[in-house]
Symmetry: C2
Subunit: 402 residues, 2 copies
Amino acid sequence: MRRTGDLKLIQELNQFIVLDAIRESGPISRSAIAKKHNLSLTTVTSLVKNLMEEGYVTEAGIGESSGGRKPRLIKFCPDSRYLIGVSLRNSRITIAEMNLNAVVKQQKIIPVIQQEQVIATILEQIERFLEEIQNDKENCIGISFITQGIVNTAKGMIHYNPKLKLIDVPLKKYLEERFKLPVWLDNDTNAHILAEKHLGIRPVHDHAIYITIGDGVGAGIVVNGQMYRGASGGAGEFGHTTIDRGGIPCDCGNVGCLENYVSWPALYSRILTFIKKGRQTLIYSLANEDIRSISPRILVEAVNLKDPFAVELMNETASYLSAGIVNLLHLFNPNTLILGGEVTNHNPYLLEKIEENVKRQALKILVEDLEIRQTTFGDHLEMTGAAAVLLQDFFEFSLIAK
Amino acid sequence: MRRTGDLKLIQELNQFIVLDAIRESGPISRSAIAKKHNLSLTTVTSLVKNLMEEGYVTEAGIGESSGGRKPRLIKFCPDSRYLIGVSLRNSRITIAEMNLNAVVKQQKIIPVIQQEQVIATILEQIERFLEEIQNDKENCIGISFITQGIVNTAKGMIHYNPKLKLIDVPLKKYLEERFKLPVWLDNDTNAHILAEKHLGIRPVHDHAIYITIGDGVGAGIVVNGQMYRGASGGAGEFGHTTIDRGGIPCDCGNVGCLENYVSWPALYSRILTFIKKGRQTLIYSLANEDIRSISPRILVEAVNLKDPFAVELMNETASYLSAGIVNLLHLFNPNTLILGGEVTNHNPYLLEKIEENVKRQALKILVEDLEIRQTTFGDHLEMTGAAAVLLQDFFEFSLIAK
DNA sequence: TCAAGTTAATACACTCACTGGAGAAAGTAA
DNA sequence: TTACTTTCTCCAGTGAGTGTATTAACTTGA
């Protein structure tokens, strides 16, 4: 349902604009905000007063004079509230307390032992975590839950998660009822691109695609500046796009799916075949001749050491992946393409090859202004993603009534 | 630049809501609008008065009583203003005067003879058309221009049109300067999906894709309820997505592009090869044994008459096209897929085959609620599209300052 | 050193769009 | 005919933003 216009709406809209200005450009003076956004100084003063009373912003000393009275600067207070991020990935639950800048304050990682009771375990662990952090629940703006698989954000349901055998679980409802807090629920790839967009070091444009290559292959999509999830939360199933009509049949029912060529399990199986033939590769020695120890990290290390087999594997991977990426570009015409996941991290050779292929194969106008790069996040990627999902919604004005 | 909140903004927003209610649900009473949208009756009365003064709505008699005073109904006046639609397609310019419901009042089709002077011809022909229709320019809300190729809507430029050799033409500027009217510029496929969304007989959901198969293969995309054009207007280049890594090289630099398998030129060339081998097909006889007369319409006719070769050709086309469509579904997860263009029109067999293939190959959750259908528009599709581009923007409230 | 000019922030009267209540107008139902 | 509904308008009241006057604080240059 759409909101109608009234005085509350004006104030709310302007308050969002002022808070945004302080978050993005703070410390900043009242008069600078007024000039930048065409608001009267009076209005800005009054809104800043409100924001101060709620604790979101505070005075931050005196600025430099530009020929008159020195400005009193206002800054954002990221620690005035906190939020809880939860990530469910494979068989591991991560719970963290973060501030309004997505900085992790406390974190806890719990392995899931009994798969049948995942949901019960999650609820119990969050409960315990909330008790442990001993922070006033009044100051908690909500819980953000991210997980693999297909998630229906609108309905607040985990639609389909094959690994944990979750089908149509109304998790948002469960969490809201138990903890009496607002809850956000989203897919992890989506969360990652939101993190890049809102919290990344380098700015992300209005049309960005984030590709992860790990156990599976997925894509997070930002279009028109918004997250795009599709009709039932299944958008970005990049791993199941066909690049070869005559290719390998896939479990999903389709043929020649990208995932069967470039995901880690696919690469691993090819490495094994090679080793079993008795042929030489650094990958084997880096893993101490134990095939179970071969990991994406070792593969990447071998590539960086220019092991011929590893390099050849990357060439092929780049070739397959580029075909998929070119399709993406032709359909979405993004201006930023971000590569993440274990296979691509710290792997400049792969990135370079992909860029080379893509720029040759795609329509020129679509790659002219395209930037291809790796993710800027390190360790806390998961939690940063969870925070981004919540924060981008929390700090954005919307005409849709909630 | 984002708009700030003030009293004008509330009124404008509410006025849009009221006008929308009258357009969508009219004739309707003031009190029904108030109840439906949670506005006070006083506000509705006042806004309706404004709208009446501007001529957009008018009283439309007395409605049925529901136990009290009979309501005075308000209806939308589509003829209170007019707009000019222009379509540039292959070597033909179509210009039309339409009302606010996209009903064509007057139309003119002009062949373009000298390709070098396309732009000059367009400007001249619009000038002449405006004189001929003898309608007060005051009542013209703008000109909507649609064309093939890649169009940058934000910059108002035809970015790339290979057939007419247009590169980076600032057409919007040209038109605005010459006619002193607001101008909209968009790609024709985009226009078609907007027509389906806003003016179609059956409703289109918030995530829809429109595929046209004709001389080329293109896709118009609506996501989150908005038109999606991409970073530089090149989104939806569906024809240049790879479905076969080992396939036919394409002019675009890529390999195995869909367009080389299912576009009309591709089909035509296969029909010619077949006929030249001296083999029998209804297509040849329906074209009076003149290969130059073979058209998409004749092919479709042969399919409907169950000509074995034509049917086999459709089976193959469906197979290629389905692979491309499955990719689209996996990336966009739409809830409506609309097929248009000369090859698919009046061709239920092709539609059925595609639906069959797609439902088998795509992830189940992505096709569960998917509706695949043909376009609902007939003759005036081009002009309706042009009108849709303008009208959807004209009647939509936006927080972005213009 | 001090007056003139600038910039920053606040105080207050004013404007304007929405709201709610009073009341008129025009029906229905018993 | 009376009681009750529903539709619509009029009018005073509310509140958020605006412009102007005012105060505060600083820079510049004579």
